[in-house]
């Protein structure tokens, strides 16, 4: 547990909670990243600008991190291009099929005590642990 960062992680979580709350309180929207991006695939009238603004905000926040805290982007693992592309595809498709990802279900849904979101988040973590076990302990960390 040498990398344990409870304080920074708690502060980060509070910021995420504030962001999701601003989206809900002012805009009436769920701050679920996969849902926000998914709504851009087939754009609907009056439902596109806020989605694009949120995504541009994410990228802007990323640039601020790059300038002020580049260690936030420390990768720390090695994965082949094929594994990254496949994992990305699974994450993107899986989130849409499940109607949400770690933000939509894990933060927004659990905060509403939604049974669907609680089930989804438990499965995210269990399946994630299975993926990590497969790669780290069966394949020796090489994929």
């Amino acid at each position: 547990m040498e990398n344990f960062t409870p304080v920074a992680s708690l502060i980060g979580g509070i910021l995420i909670g504030l962001s999701a709350s601003a989206m809900l309180v002012f805009n009436g929207k769920i701050a679920g990243v996969s849902g926000i991006v998914g709504g851009l695939v087939i754009p609907k009238a009056n439902d596109t600008l806020w989605r694009a603004a949120f995504v541009v905000g994410l990228l802007t926040g990323g640039f601020i991190l790059r300038l002020l805290a580049p260690q936030a982007f420390e990768f720390g693992i090695v994965r082949s291009g094929g594994a990254l592309a496949l994992a990305g595809f699974m994450v993107g498709l899986g989130a849409r099929v499940a109607n949400g990802c770690t933000s939509g279900h894990g933060v927004c849904g659990i905060s509403r005590f939604s049974p669907r979101s609680i089930v989804a988040t438990v499965i995210f973590i269990l399946a994630g642990a299975a993926g990590v076990y497969f790669v780290n302990h069966l394949l020796g960390g090489v994929i």
Binding site: S9, W50, L65, G88, S111, A129, V132
Partner: protein, 155 residues
């Protein structure tokens, strides 16, 4: 306009929270999911902070019929725990465990210019688009049919 600005600021704060919390470091995410190895529980604190704050604001909002900007509050209406939820969540979780990225951190990390993130995000966007493929194809077919019937479309 106001709501667009809120969405932008929320995106910025969300990304900062992900970065400060450690979600943009795949090794840290994998450390959280590695229960049988060198487990790092940090990311549980991200969830704790986010859910703690958001559940309070949600309770405050619960009795309102519209948002502060008088916009409709759109909350999910599905209730059923079905195969789609379980299958989709499993697929998502496996991918998350293999690469250590979920959608928010992947998009945020694009700003780093790190090539592995670009590959992951490209795959992720392909997955998001693939979900709507049926609808995209039927829209295209409909447009082609309308065109061949000589109907002009103002789209």
């Amino acid at each position: 306009m106001k709501s667009t600005l809120i969405a932008f600021i929320s995106g910025v704060v969300f990304a900062l929270g992900l970065g400060i919390g450690g979600m943009t470091q795949p090794a840290k995410v994998i450390g959280f999911l590695d229960f049988t190895g060198n487990w790092d529980p940090s990311l549980a604190f991200v969830m704790l902070g986010a859910i703690g704050v958001h559940s309070l604001f949600y309770r405050m909002l619960r009795n309102r019929s519209s948002s502060r900007f008088s916009l409709a509050i759109s909350l999910p209406t599905r209730k059923k725990i079905d195969f789609r939820l379980i299958g989709g969540s499993s697929l998502f979780g496996l991918g998350w465990g293999i690469a250590g990225f979920c959608p928010g951190p992947a998009l945020t990390s694009l700003a780093s210019g790190n090539f592995p993130v670009v590959i992951f995000s490209a795959g992720m966007i392909a997955g998001i688009v693939a979900f709507d493929l049926k609808e995209i194809l039927s829209l295209r077919r409909k447009r082609a049919e309308d065109f061949s019937r000589g109907i002009t479309q103002d789209m």
